[in-house]
Symmetry: C2
């Protein structure tokens, strides 16, 4: 290939990203320097957190600079390698960015081999990738789930939420999801096996949650923030845990980034609210992937990816996340 | 004594309690029934939490009913006992209420002996009482202080805050207090030995806090909520802890009970916000009192009580807490 198609950040958006946010172009193909590896990028992961990465300013990770290739987790195939740990033909995962070809330092991109015999490539961006790791460590390490507890998870048909609920079920919890619309809810209680699902677009969330969790909530795994967070916090049980994973309502509209006014219920219920960043658990990813692959084989975890195709569709496909129109882990085949 | 002077809840207030909130009267002296003890109440404790106790509705403790004697922690002297564990003349502490005489069941009021040789009676309502226990377990058990960390505490000249800072100092922390006015700040850095004190009535709290804690905050011990909580949350360090002890800004005016809009900084910093209720630690109070009494003897903890006198002044003295005009642990001598 003589050229490399890339998606670069053209300008920082206010609110929802638009086509103007991005610059899509053909460039000269990159060449792997000393110690580097040339990767053909096959699939990229689309994640709600991407909206935060293109803001200026301090967060848990450096912002993507204007003019830079957009950051993305990806799986690909090694084309050429100047690192003895990798060979042409290897299947690999790493932060390769939204581009067809990437000449990368394995360390800088967290590049590692993946076993396509264990699961197909898109699944390595789903339940075996960052969303899977986020669900696993957020629920078990931060949330410290015990059998018999009541777990509530928002964005329950999404990549993280679906796995949170499935792991909670197989660990013996009573699990309630929140999702948008009857189709997603049917999937959550049907295929995923949650005990209940609340359609947050239909009716009073507080009342529905109180009815579904009459004894209160032990763990609320929050992917969305806003009104749902506040509703869940009103129902915390003694020693409850609120796991802060994301706040998708506020990513494009900071005015919706309201804090839960009833946060002092944490005091009344001797409860805690705790945030985490999945990269901190990198040295335990392999063990978690081993567990999750086992659960897939046992039929206890059902991966689902929403695979879209074409690098030029990146701007439009990314925004599906914020409109909630994807169904399953959103992946773009380049 | 043929009569008992009592302060009862006449009606639930909206906002700040007023004289109409209370009914003060002489009643027939109570008689200790089987298993009960008759106590002369010598000092009562005035606590910010009292405002919550007179609201209707669920909290960490049952509300005081309209018509009931106002709940209060107190120290007193046993006058007569039908419980073999107590004898006339014993010095005792318990939830005896705002009244001159109390005929009480020892269990229902958490009644226990106190050693006036260790500290005078008012101190048993201060650093050896609920405020002391709150500071001790909140900082050490919930906050999990380590030597060398930076601790920020609001209401630093108050009963809880003063002890939080003094314990943090003797455990090797860098300690910053917030207090209202130059006199209180001078006391906080002078007598109490904090490293710095910010007068929250003078100037920009965020800027002052950022200047005092340039490396960020490991523990924020929150007694007040509102703007100061938000300012502290903006400066959390990695793995920081926000200990929720109270939210005095909202007790009388729920519109000030705003939640920290920047709560997602808990995620960025992998931090937690956790509430607690001191009564949960009752089985360890004696050990904590032993520690604190030792620190008083060693000159590392300086108790300070603001002792007011006269049961009829209860309505006015209680409101000193919300105006911030007390200086030290507020106690009423009956």
């Amino acid at each position: 290939m003589a050229t490399n198609r890339t998606v670069r950040l053209a300008q920082r958006p206010t609110g929802l990203p638009s086509p103007d946010t991005w610059a899509i172009a053909d460039e000269a193909a990159p060449v792997a320097g000393p110690g580097e590896v040339l990767v053909q990028v096959d699939y990229i992961s689309l994640d709600p957190a991407m909206r935060g990465w293109i803001n200026a300013g301090r967060s848990y990770i450096e912002p993507v600079e204007v003019g830079a290739v957009m950051r993305a987790g990806a799986v690909g195939t090694v084309l050429a390698s100047h690192d003895p740990a990798f060979q042409a033909g290897d299947a690999v995962e790493g932060m390769f960015g939204v581009q067809r070809l990437a000449a990368v330092g394995p360390k800088a991109t967290g590049m590692h081999m993946i076993d396509l015999g264990l699961a197909p490539a898109p699944t390595w961006l789903g339940v075996l990738g960052m969303p899977g790791m986020t669900a696993y460590f957020g629920l078990l390490d931060v949330g410290k789930l015990s059998s018999g507890e009541t777990v509530v998870v928002s964005a329950a048909s999404g990549a993280v939420g679906a796995l949170v609920g499935q792991i909670a079920k197989l660990k013996g919890a009573h699990v309630i999801g929140l999702a948008g619309g009857p189709d997603k809810c049917a999937y959550v209680t049907g295929t995923l096996g949650f005990d209940a699902c609340i359609d947050y677009k239909a009716g009073d969330i507080r009342k529905a949650l109180a009815a579904a969790a009459p004894g209160g909530i032990d763990i609320y795994f929050d992917n969305v923030g806003g009104e749902i967070l506040e509703a869940a916090m009103a129902l915390l049980r003694r020693k409850a845990r609120v796991v802060l994973c994301g706040a998708i309502v506020g990513y494009n509209d900071p005015t919706k980034m309201v804090a839960p006014r009833n946060y002092m219920n944490l005091l009344v219920q001797r409860a805690r609210m705790e945030g985490f960043v999945v990269f901190d658990y990198a040295d335990r990813f392999a063990a978690a992937q081993h567990d999750i692959a086992g659960w897939i084989k046992a039929g206890q975890v059902h991966p689902r990816e929403d695979i879209q195709a074409g690098i030029d569709r990146f701007p439009e496909v990314l925004n599906m996340l914020y409109a909630g129109t994807n169904f399953g882990k959103l992946v773009l085949k380049l």
